[in-house]
Amino acid sequence: MLRSSILIIACVILAFCQSKQQPHQAAGPMLQKVYYKSPEEIQRLRDAGAEIIVQEPDYVVIRTENMVQRLDMKSQPIQETDLVQRLVKIVLKDSSDLQAVINSGIDLWQVIGDTVIARAYDIYIERLRQAGFTIDIIAQNASKMEGRIR
């Protein structure tokens, strides 16, 4: 009796934890952490059509199904902490540019005159730079600025 109760409790615990980890829906290709050793490997990814969401010194985050296997590179599913955002200062050419900056998907923190303070992934920084914006990186990892901004 006691043993079966214990078994039931154990099953409930496992089911409870499992239910908390279930994705609610698939959102297309997975975000993958891909390790690289040289800039040439990043270029190979780009040439294969990958958009680099985050580029850290030893890995990039891309959205892919099987590109990495084809390129024979080492990869694994991302951890949330792999999605590093930069703290950036974006200079607006004029006030009408602000909407384009917002629509890029950045995490806006403040607008001071012609300057935007935001958190941004590398993919957004690159797109905005291509659109002609001047962007300075204030901190490589905005989350690590916590408590130290002031």
Binding site: L83, Q99, I106, E146
Partner: protein, 340 residues
């Protein structure tokens, strides 16, 4: 006898494992979350229970739904006949759509506490509670808030598992009016990810059902930061049909805020600076045509930004109290006078 003893020991170990894994499943950390003087989810829950227990004749606690991770979305009703569905005007105060905006939990909570504790003591407050039904939902996004407390102070979204390795939907881009427009993103990893469809999230679904049922006369959704009083529209720079009324109310709210500690909150149409779609106030205004405001609380700038010092909780509440009271009073004034 020996096997029974062993069984009990095993049961105890399993219970301990459950407590630990529950904490791990939730947050990846074991222990009781703390946010200093700011309220965590469990502290908020205790405070709300205590308030309603001590003032059960005018305060009632209920859940309007559950979050992705199963947390109750607590709503506190304050009214003189709290157990009845009255025809009095309804005013709603919301907090913490965005996880990292901790001050947006404490301001509506302190407003609720003030109202409850001053009933029967202060004639103005007594009048407001006698004539209106006030609802306070201090934490619309409890999962994100918990994650912000324990794991990532700057976390903004809820905790939907997007299924691609990323987490979270921006709840204030997930409401159904003009969903998917400018100022929101379809990228799952973006901080302004709008979700896969309008009202895809249990948190926004719960708020929608609640507000549709309550049909409020006015609403304030608290956020931080920037010190602004914003009104619809946010999705377009076109003026709302009631722009004059919304603007005069926003100016009045901002004026009352400034009169307390001198802090300037700038009133204006939400889209003045930039467009953003799918937010609470646009949806509510589109549905009922009633004043709905986003108040961006202290501080005024990104330094200290979301990490407002605890010493500013009380003054931020104090300066926002008269504005909240005046909006309740305004809602009462809009009621038609019934004569025989």
């Amino acid at each position: 006898m020996k096997s029974r003893k062993f069984g009990y020991q095993l049961l105890l170990i399993l219970i301990l494992m459950f407590l630990m894994t529950n904490s791990i499943c939730d947050n990846g950390k074991v222990g009781i979350p703390t946010a200093g003087l700011y309220h965590t989810y469990s502290e908020l829950e205790s405070e709300l229970r205590s308030l309603t227990k001590d003032h059960s004749s005018i305060a009632e606690l209920s859940s309007i739904g559950r979050s992705h991770e199963g947390r109750e979305l607590w709503a506190l009703k304050i009214s003189d006949q709290v157990e009845l569905d009255e025809t009095e005007p309804v005013v709603v105060f919301l907090g913490a759509h965005h996880a990292r905006e901790w001050i947006s939990v404490d301001v509506p909570l302190l407003i609720a506490k003030y109202l409850i504790e001053k009933y029967g003591v202060d004639s103005t407050i007594t009048h407001l509670i006698d004539q209106a039904v006030i609802w306070v939902i201090p934490m619309v996004n409890p999962d994100g808030h918990q994650y912000s407390v324990l794991m990532d102070r700057l976390w903004r979204k809820n905790r939907r598992n997007n299924g691609d390795g990323s987490f979270g939907v921006d709840l204030n881009r997930n409401y159904g009016y003009q969903w998917g427009g400018p100022g929101s993103s379809g990228d799952t990893f973006s901080e302004i990810y709008r979700g896969p469809s309008p009202f895809s999230e249990p948190e926004t679904q719960a708020v929608r059902t609640f507000l549709e049922h309550q049909s409020p006369q006015a609403l304030i959704s608290y956020h931080s930061y920037s010190q602004l009083v914003l009104y619809p529209w946010g999705y377009t720079s076109q003026p709302a049909p009631d722009k004059a009324l919304l603007d005069s109310l926003a100016v009045s709210l901002a004026h009352q805020i400034q009169s307390v500690h001198g802090k300037k909150y700038t009133p204006g149409q939400s889209s003045t600076l930039y467009l953003a779609s799918g937010d609470t106030t646009d949806w509510l205004y589109a549905l009922f045509g009633v004043p709905a405001f986003t108040i961006e609380l202290r501080p005024g700038s990104y330094n200290p930004g979301f990490e407002l010092p605890e010493s500013e909780i009380q003054p931020t509440f104090e300066e926002n109290l008269p504005a909240a009271l005046s909006l309740i009073n305004w809602a009462i004034q809009q009621q038609p006078v019934v004569t025989d």
